[in-house]
Amino acid sequence: MLKRKSWLLLLTLLTMLCLLLTACGGAEEPAQEQPAAEQPAAEQPSGATYQAQTDKTLRISQSDAPNIDPGVGSDYSSCMAYVNLYDTLVYPTLEGEMAPMLATEWTTSDDGLEWTFTLREDVKFHDGTPLTASDVIFSFNRIMTMGEGFGFLFNNYVATVEAPDDYTVKITLTKAFAPFLTILSRLYVLNEDLVMANLADGAYGEMKDYGKAYLSDHDAGSGAYMVKEMRKQDRMIATAFGDYWGEFTANAPQTIEIVGGTQTATIRTLMTNAELEISDQWQTEEAYQALDQLPDVDMTEMFVGSVLYAMMNTTKAPMDDVHVRKAIAYMLDYEMIVTRLFPGCMVAKSPVPYGLPGYTEDIPQYEYNMEKAAEELAQSKYADTIGDYEINVAWISEVPDEEKIALLIQSVGEELGLNVVVEKTPWLTHVENVAKQDTTPCISLTFVTADYNEAGSQLFLRFHSSTTGTWQQTEWLNDATLDAMIEDALVTLDRDARFQKYAEIQQYVADLCPCINVFNQAEKHAYYNFVGWPAAEAAAAGEPVSLVMGYNYMFKDFSIN
C-alpha cells in the first residue's frame, strides 16, 4: 500500500513539473542594450520560401480589426485601412511634405480663407464609377455632419465646399488655418452614389444613417485596395484594385489582411508559422526579442510622432505647484529609461514629437538631477507636508510596459519623500476618470500622437483649453495666454513665422512644466525580411518616416520579394 501511494505521489509531482516546464518555455537571452534608434542588423535570408511570397499576401496585426467607415474611426488600425481603401486630396510623404493625390494642383487666396483644388480626371471608384468633385463635397458634408472620427479637424474650420465644375473643388474656411492642407490627409473621399444607394434608418434626417451600416462592412473608396471580406472581431481582407489610377510597386501585395488581436502567444504562434508577416507595435520588449530570434524575421524601429507623457493634473494638490512638477521632472533618469526599460526609444526634448515640422529642442531641458529635484521641492508650498499628499500615478492596463515608468516614479519619489501610489487603470475607465477634474489622477501616463503633420497639432491637442477633459490633455491647464499663443500660431500663414511661434510655445510650456515628456516612442515591428517596406528601409537608413498615423502602411508601395 505504501509503495502504491509513493508511486502515485511521484507521478503527480512529475506531471506538475512537466506542465510547469511547458509553460516556462526555453531560456531567454538577456536583453541587449542598444543606443537609441539604432536599427538591429538584418539577418541573412534562410533561403526558405514562404506561402506569402507565393501568394503575394501581406498580413499585419493590430489591436483590433479596423473600423472601415472613414467617417467614424480614428484609431491606428482604422487609419491603416483608410490609407489603402480610400484616396485623399493630398497625402503626406515620408519626408513630411504634402504631395498631390486626387488633387493635381491647388491655390490659396491671400487671406488663406479660400482653397481651390483641381482633381484628377482618371480616378475610378471600386465599382467602376468615376470620382468627381461631387464626391468630395459629399465626403466633407458627411464627416462634418456626423462629427465622429476625424470630423473635429474640419468642423472648426470649414465653412462651405463647392464644385464650380466636375473636377474643381473650392473650400472656404471660417477662419484662416495655416495647416489646412495637412488635415486634408484625413478627408477620405467616398463614392456618393454608392453610399446613397445603401442608406438605412438613422438620425441624420433625409440622409438617414449616412451609410454607416453599409460602410461598416463595405468600402466605397477609390484606393489601391478594395475590401474582399470584413470579418468583424477578426480581420479585414482586401485585394488589389485592378483599375487603380496610381502605380503599384513591382511585387506589391495582391492581398492584404489587417488582423485584430495582440495576444503575445497568438502573435508569436502566427509569426512562427509564417501566418503573419508584420507584427503590431504593442508587444512587450520580451516578445520582440523572441520574435527577433525567428529565422528571416527582422526588427524595425521608427519614430512616428508618438510621445509618452506623464501628464500632471495642475489643479490637484500637490501638482498645482510648479516646483513640485519640476521636482518630479528632474528626478527621472531619462537616459536609463531609453536604454534599459525601452531600448530604442529616444529621450523627448520637447512636448512636440521628434521630427514633426515645427519641432525644436532649443528649450529648457529637465535632465536627471536629484539635487535640483530636491531644490525645487524645497521651494514649493508643500515642502514640509509633501508626504501628506497621495500622488496617484495612473498607467493604462492595455499597455503593460507603462507600469515600469509608474514604478520608477514611485521608487525615486520615495527618496524625495513623495507618497506615490501606482494605479493600474483600464483604458475606458481612464477616459471616464479624466473627463472630470476631481477624478483625474495626479499623473497620467499616456502616449499621444499628432492629428496632422505639424507641431501646431500636438500643441493644440495637448495644451489648448478646449481639449481639457480628454485623454489627450489631463493637465486641466486652462491657460488663456497659452490659448492665445496657440491660436495666433495657427492663423499665421507664413511658415517660418508660424514655426517661430511654435518654438515660443514650446518654450512657454517648458517653463510651465505641466507634463513630463518621457520619451519619443520607437514604434517597433517584427517583420519577415522578404517584405519590402519603404518606411522600415528609411528608418534603417536614418531617414525620416511619415508621422501621420497610417501613412507608413500604404501597401501599394510595399513589395513581397
Binding site: W7, L8, L11, T12, T15, M16, L19, T22, A23, G25, Q51, D55, T57, R59, N67, D69, V72, S74, M146, G147, E148, G149, G151, F152, N155, A203, K212, A213, S216, D217, E229, R231, K232, Q233, D234, R235, T255, V259, G260, G261, Q263, A265, T266, R268, T269, L270, T272, N273, E275, P426, L428, T429, V431, E432, A435, T467, G469, T470, W471, Q472
Partner: protein
C-alpha cells in the same frame, strides 16, 4: 402528456427568470460609471454628435422608460445599434453567435465523449495505474484555468508541433462558406465546400479542447465515482451471477445510472461554456459572441451588453430544461414519479 406538461411548466418558469434577468442586467449596465455616448464617439466628437447619440440611446430619459424602449425592441427584433461595431446588434448576434455555438457544441462533444471514456476506464481499472493517471490528469485539468489551458495548447499545437491550424475560424485563402447556419463546418458540408468544412473543423479542435478541459475531467471523476459506487449494488451482483459479460454490464447496466449525477453537472458546465469562452476566443482570435460581449462590457456598449446577457440567459435556461429531460430519460424513477 406528463412530459408535455413538464416542458410547458419549465418554459413558463423560464420566461419569468429571463424577465428578471433582463431587469437586473439592464439596471446594472446603466448605473455603472461611464458615458456610453462619449465612449462611442471619442473625446473629440462634436457636441451635436454627442447630443444626437444620447437622444438616440434615450439616455436622457428615466430608467424605467429606457427599459420600456428596450424590451419593446426585444419583442420586435430591434436590439438597437452597437457602438463598437457601428451596426445593429441583431446583425452582430447573427454573425457572432453561430461561431460560439459551433465552438461550444464541439466542446460539449469533447466533454461528453471523453468524460464517459475516461470515467469508464478509471472505474474499470480502479485503484490501478490507469485510474491513478486519470486522477492526476483530472486534478490538473480542473485546477488549470481555461485561459492557461488555451495558451498551453496554443503553444503546443500551434507553436511547437504546428500540426493543425489554431488561429481564427479559417486559414488564409479560405473564404467563408455560403451562409446557412453561420457555423462554418456545417455550412461547408451543406454547400459542398468540403475543403472549407475540413479546414474549419481543424481550426475548431484546439479551442474546443481548451474550453472543454476543465469540465471534461471533472465529469470523468464524477462518472468514475458513481460507477464505482454502483458496482457494489445488488443488481450488478445479480447480473454477474447470471453470467452477464462484464463489458455488457459496464455499458448497459452500469453506465446509464452512473451518468445521472454527471449529466446534471455536465449541463451546467455546457451552459457556462458560452460565458466562459471569452478568454479562449481572445487567445485563438475566435470571433464569437463571448469575446463580443466582453468588448461590449469594456466599452459600455449598452445595447450589446443587454442582448448578450439575455442570449446567455436563454441558453442557460434551455440547457437546464434539456438536462432535466435527459435525466428523466436516464432514470425511469424520475419520469414515473417513483422513489
Amino acid at each position: 402528456m406528463d412530459l408535455l406538461k413538464f416542458i410547458l411548466k419549465r418554459l413558463a418558469q423560464a420566461i419569468f427568470v429571463l424577465f428578471g434577468l433582463s431587469i437586473v442586467i439592464f439596471v446594472i449596465s446603466r448605473i455603472v460609471p461611464g458615458d456610453p455616448a462619449r465612449m462611442a464617439l471619442g473625446s473629440r466628437a462634436s457636441d451635436e454628435a454627442y447630443a444626437a447619440l444620447r437622444a438616440e440611446m434615450h439616455l436622457e430619459e428615466p430608467l424605467a422608460r429606457q427599459y420600456g424602449y428596450w424590451i419593446k425592441g426585444v419583442f420586435t427584433g430591434d436590439l438597437g445599434n452597437s457602438i463598437t461595431t457601428k451596426r445593429a446588434v441583431s446583425i452582430d448576434l447573427r454573425d457572432f453567435l453561430p461561431a460560439t455555438l459551433e465552438l461550444v457544441m464541439m466542446s460539449a462533444v469533447f466533454m461528453v465523449i471523453f468524460s464517459i471514456l475516461l470515467g469508464k476506464v478509471a472505474a474499470r481499472y480502479r485503484d490501478k495505474w490507469p485510474d491513478a493517471l486519470i486522477r492526476v490528469l483530472s486534478y490538473s485539468g480542473v485546477a488549470i484555468p481555461a485561459f492557461v489551458m488555451a495558451i498551453l495548447l496554443l503553444l503546443l499545437f500551434g507553436y511547437k508541433w504546428e500540426v493543425i491550424p489554431v488561429i481564427g475560424r479559417l486559414s488564409s485563402g479560405f473564404a467563408a462558406p455560403a451562409r446557412v447556419t453561420g457555423m462554418y463546418v456545417l455550412d461547408g458540408i451543406l454547400s459542398g465546400q468540403i475543403a472549407t468544412a475540413w479546414n474549419a473543423f481543424l481550426h475548431l479542435l484546439v479551442p474546443a479542447l481548451a474550453l472543454a478541459a476543465g469540465g471534461l475531467f471533472q465529469e470523468a471523476r464524477i462518472i468514475r465515482t458513481a460507477m464505482t459506487d454502483n458496482l457494489t449494488k445488488d443488481y450488478i451482483n445479480a447480473s454477474k451471477g447470471y453470467g452477464v459479460p462484464n463489458r455488457l454490464i459496464m455499458r448497459k447496466y452500469l453506465l446509464k445510472p452512473s451518468m445521472i449525477p454527471a449529466v446534471s453537472v455536465m449541463g451546467l458546465d455546457i451552459a457556462a461554456l458560452m460565458a466562459n469562452a471569452f478568454l479562449v476566443e481572445t487567445i485563438f482570435t475566435w470571433p464569437g459572441i463571448s469575446r463580443y460581449g466582453m468588448t461590449a462590457m469594456l466599452s459600455k456598449d449598452l445595447n450589446a451588453i443587454s442582448a448578450v446577457i439575455l442570449i446567455f440567459g436563454m441558453i442557460f435556461v434551455l440547457v437546464n430544461i434539456a438536462v432535466d429531460l435527459i435525466v428523466a430519460w436516464l432514470d425511469p424513477r424520475i419520469r414515473l414519479g417513483g422513489d
